[in-house]
Symmetry: C2
Subunit: 229 residues, 2 copies
């Protein structure tokens, strides 16, 4: 699976969040980091469309400005996503995935009915969901980062892993898919340093656990079947 990350940020160099996210993807394969140039007056439509076609998972990545992406992403949409390409004869994005990576300096608790912002991020991002729908794309659950600057080190480490999976794991939405992804990551690391006892131990632990987990999964599904009857 190839992923295209379309980064829309008018002050990219100043953004600690974007720098962190970019660093998280070091050594990740099949990922294209594509920054939208805010200084250009227009986009090269053919080049942008070709880039989209080469990838399977498309990510819009941006800080939330007035409950939406910065203007440059909208300009890109307005220019690049023309009717024929998206839902006319071509339908060039059909069967691809659309993901949103959105960061905001406002706290998560505000994004709820009755909260400071009144609406959830899922509601505010509807225009992207509607675009995915029109294009025949699969809309992924948005990946949101609230108040990055206040995250603890542990929370940041967790963010790295979650983000890596959102970008590179075709099956990040189920437990088994996440497990396989971890195993795959460990194997790659082991290939780099085959003598690491620690990595070998973790890999063995995951593989041992899997058998236990599969058994547990069976038991749970039997209990559930009983309850459903």
């Amino acid at each position: 699976m190839k992923t295209l990350i379309i980064v829309a940020h008018p002050k990219l160099i100043e953004s600690g969040t974007q720098k962190f996210l970019k660093t998280s993807l070091t050594k990740m394969e099949d990922v294209t980091w594509h920054v939208l140039d805010v200084t250009q007056p227009h986009f090269d439509v053919a080049a942008e469309q070709a880039l989209l076609q080469k990838h399977d998972r498309i990510i819009f990545q941006f800080p939330l400005y007035w409950y939406s992406a910065p203007a440059v992403l909208k300009q890109w949409e307005d220019e690049v996503l023309n009717r024929n390409f998206v839902y006319g004869t071509q339908r060039a994005l059909a069967k691809k995935e659309l993901g949103i990576v959105v960061s905001t300096g406002d706290p998560q608790r505000g994004f709820v009915a009755g909260g400071d912002e009144q609406f959830t991020l899922s509601e505010l991002l509807r225009p992207y969901q509607a675009l995915a729908n029109k294009a025949g794309m699969t809309y992924l659950p948005p990946f949101s980062i609230f108040q990055f600057a206040y995250l603890t080190e542990t929370a940041k480490q967790r963010l790295v892993i979650d983000y890596q999976q959102y970008i590179t794991n075709a099956e990040f939405q189920n437990f088994h898919g996440r497990e396989l992804w971890f195993e795959d990551q460990l194997k790659q690391k082991l290939a780099d340093s085959p003598d690491s006892q620690k990595l070998t131990q973790i890999l063995t632990a995951i593989q041992d656990n899997r058998e236990d987990l599969e058994e547990l999964g069976w038991t749970l599904s039997m209990i559930k079947d009983d309850e459903d009857e």
Copy 2:
């Protein structure tokens, strides 16, 4: 009441809808028609903010591009609506109204759960509603125009009146407010042509009807009170 219409349309000259809307406002007082220049790299923030402060009802008027306004309106939002001005110390927009005039070439029937577009316009325009909420503004029900090119002459005449009221009538959301607005419009027209028998007749008819309507209103409210008990 002073109304500022912020028109965001990258191909304004080609737009029959926008031309029609502008013509509808000929002779309307206290209305500023403000077109966002898509060729400029940046907005004059101080001038735009001063303009906003001079008006009571702010209208974002645009064609729906990818379920949102064209990029130029977002650019205007990102540059002009800075934190202090909107919800910091200034709160310069508080108590003002925010209205949306949105046109689309897609049919109304698609904007519903299960329809082609999957979401209603009310849902898709949430980012503007959230902005109004944050700014302490009153959010007006969006004014939507579907498939303008296919409207009948009668529908267009109705559109003129509805649009005029959305822009200039402080009380367009209740029957009494609409009635007073019509009376006011007729009186202005009569001042221009005092000998018009037709206008005098219509005005008299409205005034006569009002007494009947007020009586009817009483009766209806009594019936409702009975039902509620």
